[in-house]
Structure formats: structure tokens, C-alpha cells
């Protein structure tokens, strides 16, 4: 059997394109120049009635004849004023940020009942704030130098959000009943219509990454230290107790002296990846997320998780009941409870299970396809490969997977996004993807 690229000796290539009469009268069109850069785009899909998708015509149709669109089951383009570099999805709301130095660099949409999107002045009264923001609306950060600072990253939890800037630290807004915003808890504080956006103090060095759990927050400094604040009943703050912490405190346990390169959390379990590829976890373990080190249902102090056969871990992503890690070879390992991605028969596992790379597009023609980014929503997973394809699997909560149907997906499935996907943010029932056009 011959391989495709070798042409037999008796079969020749067709002769060079015969010189056609190039009619000089016909115009030659130029659609694109040589220096065209790919256009950045943002796509959203999922449950739209909270306004989290940022498309008001889904909730309030433009004309009386149209009906509201409750579930957007396939990716829909969101027009943005600037190129979006960072996005985060919370529980019914989203934040998108651009790394520009202009005055508007952060927009929020969705639920705003706890002022997780800041104060959104209504049209009728300047003292009232919108409860639901249907369109991406600018969030006014109290920056000292608004035209010099850039927003690096945003993170959203259940009712609070964190914004990381390059020169002015971390800003938090939203619900603070458990101290998750890193400021002193005020008894009976009314969060709706609140103007408070707090600049969190108490960091020894510069913060390089933030992560929001359901009601707690994690911060990673450039020296590799992890700090936590917020609710701790499941030990998710990792501070050695199950109490609330209202200001960031450094976590110890097995993480003392370890340089962490990435933190991840979304529910009540937290994970940290160290620079030499080790994984540490703390918090809720009711779904066997941390069963490799303990049989208890919670750990309140970081423990090193010995993972067999995973190799060097480069990224970790943590959802509500499930965990996924990515190693340096581009392989994805999953464990926990729920739809893990290996068919309906595997619904829980306490040891890492590898997802076969053929499901991510590896084939004879492409033997080297690798996953470069892995994210977790509350009950689903998303993986971005090096070819710019997005794969999702898990529970399809109100159409959050974006595969065109509302059925759950038991193994990785391609999402048809018009463009190459760069990054994706997963929420409970919606997702935001940042892509760029092919050309």
C-alpha cells in the first residue's frame, strides 16, 4: 500500500498550468493585504435571561414580533468596543476586560443584585443601580491613574468579583458577607446599589493571579505565595481553620516554601500548581476530589496530591464536583464526580483518568495535537487545543456547552466557533470565548 505523498514513477504531476490568456481587461481584486492581522472576536452562549450574555435583544426583543431567546445554544458574536484580553463568568454574570490604557477598560453584564458589577446608574434616577445589566456596561474602577493602569485579569465568584491591575493591585466588588472581598465585614450591609469597590491591601508583593471560588478568594503573588480570604466552612481558604477570614492571609500547610505558578477554584475546592509540576489541593473533598490524600470530606490546609502517571502538571482547573489537570505533553486528566468525559459509565473517580487524545482531534494526519488550556465551569469542562479548537464536555446546564443541543455531553465535543479560540471562561450556565479570525 503506497503512502499518499509518494507519486509513482509512471504517474507524473500534471503539466504546469497552461498559460491562460490573461485578459488584461479583467480587474484583479485585492481583499486583504500582506500585513493583515487576525481580528479579535468574542463569542458568548448559554442562558441569557440573566443578561450574562450581554445581548439585550435576547431578553427584551427589538420588535414585538420577535420572541425572547432564553437559551443561546451555539456561539453568538458579542460586539465589543475594544479587544478583550480577559473574561470571567460568575454565577449569572460576566466581566470582560481589555488591556488598554483608555478610561473604559472593564465591562460587566448580568446579575447585579450584590453590586458585583459595581454601581450601574439607572436612566431614571442617579441613586439607583440596575439589578440586571443586559449589555456590557463600563465598570468605573476607582483608579489613581486611570489612563496608565491596565487590567490584567478578572475573576468572578457567586456574588463577588476581583479585578487585577498591573500597577494598582487588586480591586474587589460585590457581596462581602463572608469577607470574600477582602474588607471588613459590616453587619447587615446592603449590597444592592452599593458604590464600594475596594482596593485590597495586605499583600507583601505584587499579585499576578486572582481566582474566585463560590464565596472565597485566592490570590497568587509573584514570589509564588498564595493568600486567601472569605468563607472557610469547607476549609477552602486553606488557613487551617473553618472560620471566615475577611482579609487575605497567607496559606501554609504543604505550600510553605513552595513556589506556586497557578491557582484555580470555582466551587468549594481549591487547587494550586507549583513551578515544578506538583499539585496541591485543599477545601471540599465530598466528591473524592482530594481522595488521594484523605478520606475526610474537607481539608482545611493545603496538602500535596501525589498523582500517578500524570507527569509534570502545568495547569489545573477545579469545578464544583470535578477536577481536571493538564500536563506538559498536552494530556488531560480528570477525576471527581459528575460527567468526567469518558462516557456515561464513568461518573466518579478518585484517581486521575486520562482522556484519549483521539477525542481532541489527534489522528493519522495530525499526530501531534495537544491541549493548551483547560477550564472548568461548575459542572462542565472546556479545553482549547493548540490548533485553536474548543472542546467541551459535562452537564449541559441550560445550554452552557454551546453544542447546539441541550443534551449532556459525555465525551469531548467540538464547539463550532468561527475562528481560532484563544481562551475561554466558563460559568455555571454560560460561557464566554475569546477568539481571533483565521486570517
Amino acid at each position: 500500500m503506497g503512502s499518499g505523498h509518494c507519486i509513482c514513477s509512471y504517474a507524473t504531476l500534471s503539466k504546469a498550468s497552461r498559460p491562460q490568456e490573461k485578459s488584461s481587461a479583467g480587474p484583479v481584486f485585492q481583499y486583504v493585504g500582506q500585513n493583515k492581522k487576525p481580528t479579535p472576536k468574542v463569542f458568548v452562549w448559554g442562558f441569557s435571561f440573566t443578561g450574562a450574555l450581554g445581548i439585550p435583544s435576547f431578553v427584551v426583543p427589538d420588535s414585538g414580533r420577535k420572541k425572547p431567546r432564553k437559551y443561546q445554544l451555539t456561539p453568538y458574536r458579542l460586539e465589543t468596543a475594544e479587544q478583550i484580553s480577559s473574561a470571567a463568568c460568575g454565577y449569572g454574570f460576566s466581566l470582560i476586560a481589555s488591556s488598554t490604557k483608555d478610561a473604559s477598560k472593564l465591562w460587566g453584564m448580568g446579575l447585579n443584585k450584590d453590586s458585583q458589577l459595581g454601581f450601574q446608574r439607572t436612566q431614571h434616577s442617579r441613586h439607583q443601580s440596575y439589578d440586571y445589566v443586559l449589555e456590557p456596561s463600563p465598570v468605573a474602577l476607582p483608579l489613581v491613574n486611570p489612563l496608565q493602569t491596565r487590567v490584567l485579569q478578572v475573576a468572578c465568584g457567586r456574588a463577588h468579583s476581583l479585578v487585577l491591575t498591573d500597577r494598582e493591585g487588586v480591586f474587589s466588588m460585590g457581596n462581602n458577607s463572608y469577607g470574600q472581598c477582602g474588607r471588613r465585614i459590616v453587619e447587615d450591609e446592603v449590597y444592592s446599589g452599593s458604590h464600594i469597590i475596594h482596593n485590597i491591601e495586605g499583600f507583601a508583593g505584587r499579585v499576578v493571579q486572582v481566582a474566585c471560588g463560590q464565596d472565597h478568594s485566592l490570590f497568587l503573588t509573584e514570589t509564588g505565595k498564595v493568600l486567601a480570604c472569605g468563607w472557610g466552612a469547607d476549609g477552602q481558604t486553606g488557613l487551617g481553620h473553618h472560620n471566615i477570614s475577611s482579609s487575605p492571609v497567607e496559606v501554609g500547610g504543604d505550600l510553605s516554601g513552595v513556589e506556586v505558578q497557578q491557582i484555580s477554584t470555582y466551587g468549594d475546592c481549591s487547587l494550586a500548581v507549583s513551578r515544578d509540576g506538583q499539585l496541591f489541593g485543599w477545601g471540599n473533598s465530598e466528591y473524592r476530589q482530594l481522595a488521594s490524600v484523605t478520606e475526610a470530606t474537607q481539608i482545611n490546609s493545603p496538602r500535596h496530591l501525589p498523582l500517578k502517571g500524570c507527569g509534570k502538571v502545568v495547569q489545573a482547573a477545579c469545578g464544583g464536583t470535578q477536577v481536571a489537570v493538564l500536563n506538559d505533553k498536552g494530556e488531560v486528566f480528570v477525576w471527581g464526580y459528575g460527567i468526567l468525559g469518558k462516557g456515561p459509565n464513568l461518573s466518579e473517580s478518585s484517581t486521575p483518568e486520562v482522556i484519549p487524545s483521539t477525542l481532541f482531534g489527534r489522528s493519522q494526519f495530525n499526530p501531534s495535537v495537544a491541549v493548551t488550556r483547560i477550564r472548568c465551569g461548575l459542572s462542565h469542562f472546556a479545553a482549547v487545543t493548540d490548533r485553536g479548537e474548543l472542546f467541551v464536555w459535562g452537564k449541559n446546564v441550560r445550554g452552557c456547552l454551546g453544542i447546539g443541543k441541550r443534551d449532556d455531553q459525555y465525551f469531548p465535543w467540538r464547539v463550532t466557533v468561527p475562528g481560532q479560540v484563544v481562551d475561554v471562561a466558563c460559568g455555571v450556565d454560560h460561557m464566554v470565548a475569546m477568539a481571533k479570525s483565521l486570517l
Binding site: 503506497g2 491562460q20 481584486f29 486583504v32 493583515k36 482531534g361 490548533r387 449532556d408
Partner: protein, 357 residues
């Protein structure tokens, strides 16, 4: 009793592939092969005419008045069996064509003779992929997607780099991989669907839209480029349209200069007979080769019924092997029966065992 012609025909039954040149309708190829075979079959030395005993009236030589009819037995040849009376032994033979190639394309064309046509039916029904090499050129768009068509538009192509072409091909491959899953009739919520997806077995059964299971660029020299595709249920016009669409995705235009099929199922360019070899002798040898390779394949496949996914450099995809397995058992029995027929029952063709599965 089988005549030498019939015995030669038995040796000709089976499948073989030819190289169809471009510019020629596939029917002309089939007709010329049939003519060549008929010429040779009818040129075999015919058997001597059988003799029969007839009672003929002898002409009397003596000059005596004939009182009655005197008949004498003579052995005369049976004139009704003379080839000049009954015609040549073979008026036409069944030569069937596998997946067709249109006039613009060239490449492997599978033909079947006699009983091989039944196997051809099976080939049609199993999910077998085909390999093509597409030659394209940037800068023009025509109405029939080939370089000989009427020019619709011309555009620049200096901005196209191999990297951009790879990105477009990756996007097309992703869409086609998804189409493979969508057209398969398996319930996606079952464990069986997951296992088949891991092994790459998910795919359409029977008719479906054309799907490219593999696509890559093997040569890039603007404005010319060569793609290699592996596809299912395709037509050559669809492949030309794919070249045109690749041009559109790259914000330019492209036409297809040539399509060559390099593999159809298990028949590759190596086994294809060129025009000067469309003779009965070469065809008989090709068919013998096909039968022996079928036996070898069956022998190597039977110990491992479900081979694991192998990353062979061979282009005959494992998924196609798996799909063929189901029909391979059927093919095997047909081949076995043809082989048996030829060696043991050559003299009594009408007592063929019916081993249909």
C-alpha cells in the same frame, strides 16, 4: 464441460484496478477493457465440433431404379454449434465499475469482472475511504472550479503563507470531524458511542454528505499547492468545490488543476494498470494478485478480531480496516467460493456450492 474460453473466463473473475487517464469518460475505459477481454476470450481455440450420427440418403451410383430410400448412418459435424453459426462464445462479459471518476479526474478505478461484481456491491456498501491528491492554483475563480472553466474573478494571493493555509485546513478538518460524529447514527449518550469515538470508528453508514476524514497540504509554492485528502461519500465536483472554498477562506480565489485518486479502499496506485497493460494477460495477473492478497489479509486478521488503534505510517486507515472487517468476512467467503470453484469444480460450473452469507 468447460471450454478453454470458459476456463480463461473463470481466471478473469475478480477485482482489479486500472489507472484512468484524465479527459476520458469512465465508460470508455470500461468498454475498451471489455473489448480487449472479449477479443482474447473469443480467440481461444475453439473445441472441435461434436459429431452426430445422421441417417442420410446415399446418392446411388448404380443405374438401377431406386425401389426404396436407402439410408446410411454417417457421422457428420453438428453445424449448429459452429462458431460461424452460433456466434462467438462470449458476446459480452459483465465488467462493473466501482466508485466512478469523472472525465476531469484521473487515478485508480476499480473494475470487477463476472463474479467480482458481487464483491463490488459489497465494496460500495461498506464504509471505505478514498485518497485523492488535489492540485490547486491561487488567483482565479472559475465557474466549474477547474482551470479550464470560464474565469469568474481574479484576485491577489501574495498574502497567503503556508501557515495561513494550514490554519484554514485545520478549521476544515475540525468541521469535517464534527460532521463524522453528527452523521453517525449512534446515540451520543451511550458508552458505546464514547468507545467508538476513541477508536475513530464513528461515521456515517451508507449514504451521507461528503466528509473529508483527512486533509493536509503536501506542497506549497504560491500560486500552486497540492493537498492530500482522505474522504467518504464524495464526488470529484465536491473536491473541486473544496479547493474553491479554501481559496475563499484565504480571502483570495483558487481553482483545481487536477484530481488524482491515489487509493480506493485497498487498491492503490501501485496496483493500477496503465493503458498499455489493459490486456487479458495483465488483468489475469492483477486478479490473481488480488485473490492472494485477500487470503493473506484474512489469515492475518483472524487471530486478532479487533485490532487496537495502530499509528501506522500507512495511509490505509485503521478505521477503514475496521469497517472492512464486517464485509471482509463476506468477501472472504466469496473469494473462497471463487477459488474453490476454479480449482476443484472447473469442469462442472453448474454444480457451484452456494456459500452466500
Amino acid at each position: 464441460m468447460a471450454t478453454p474460453a470458459v476456463r480463461m473466463f473463470r481466471r478473469l473473475e475478480g477485482l482489479f484496478c486500472v489507472y484512468k487517464p484524465s479527459g476520458v469518460h469512465w465508460k470508455l475505459v470500461r468498454d475498451s477493457i471489455e473489448t480487449n477481454l472479449l477479443k482474447v476470450l473469443n480467440a481461444t481455440p475453439s473445441q472441435p465440433l461434436p459429431q452426430e450420427v445422421r441417417f442420410l440418403a446415399q446418392p446411388s451410383t448404380e443405374t438401377e431404379a431406386p425401389k426404396g430410400l436407402t439410408l446410411s448412418a454417417t457421422s457428420v459435424p453438428v453445424l449448429s454449434k459452429h462458431p460461424l453459426v452460433s456466434g462467438p462464445e462470449f458476446q459480452n462479459i459483465q465488467v462493473g465499475v466501482g466508485h466512478r471518476l469523472d472525465a476531469f479526474s484521473s487515478g485508480v478505478l476499480v473494475l470487477g469482472v463476472g463474479n467480482g461484481n458481487k464483491t463490488l456491491n459489497d465494496l460500495y456498501r461498506t464504509r471505505v475511504t478514498r485518497d485523492y491528491t488535489l492540485e490547486g492554483e491561487f488567483g482565479t475563480a472559475t465557474d466549474d472550479f477547474t482551470h479550464t472553466g470560464g474565469v469568474v474573478e481574479r484576485s491577489t494571493y501574495e498574502h497567503i503563507t503556508q501557515d495561513k493555509l494550514e490554519r484554514v485546513l485545520a478549521m476544515l478538518e475540525g468541521a469535517n470531524q464534527k460532521a463524522l460524529l453528527m452523521y453517525s447514527n449512534v446515540d451520543m449518550r451511550s458508552q458505546e458511542a464514547y468507545e467508538m469515538a476513541v477508536q475513530g470508528l464513528l461515521g456515517p453508514e451508507g449514504k451521507s454528505a461528503p466528509i473529508l476524514t483527512g486533509l493536509r497540504c503536501i506542497h506549497f509554492q504560491p500560486p500552486n499547492f497540492i493537498l492530500e485528502v482522505q474522504c467518504l461519500n464524495e464526488t470529484q465536483k465536491y473536491l473541486r468545490k473544496v479547493v474553491h472554498e479554501i481559496g475563499l477562506e484565504l480571502r483570495s480565489t483558487a481553482v483545481c488543476k487536477g484530481i488524482r485518486r491515489t487509493r480506493d479502499g485497498l487498491f492503490t496506485l501501485q496496483d493500477a494498470l496503465t493503458r498499455h497493460h489493459w490486456t487479458a494477460a495483465d488483468i489475469t495477473q492483477a486478479i490473481r494478485q488480488y485473490h492472494s492478497s485477500k487470503k493473506h489479509r484474512k489469515r492475518s486478521q483472524s487471530p486478532a478480531k479487533k485490532p487496537a488503534l495502530k499509528t501506522s505510517e500507512d495511509v490505509t486507515a485503521t478505521q477503514q480496516n475496521e469497517a472492512n472487517e464486517e464485509a471482509a468476512t463476506r468477501w472472504f467467503f466469496f473469494v473462497l467460493f471463487i477459488w474453490l470453484d476454479h480449482t476443484f469444480l472447473g469442469d462442472a460450473p453448474h454444480i457451484r456450492p452456494i456459500l452466500f452469507i
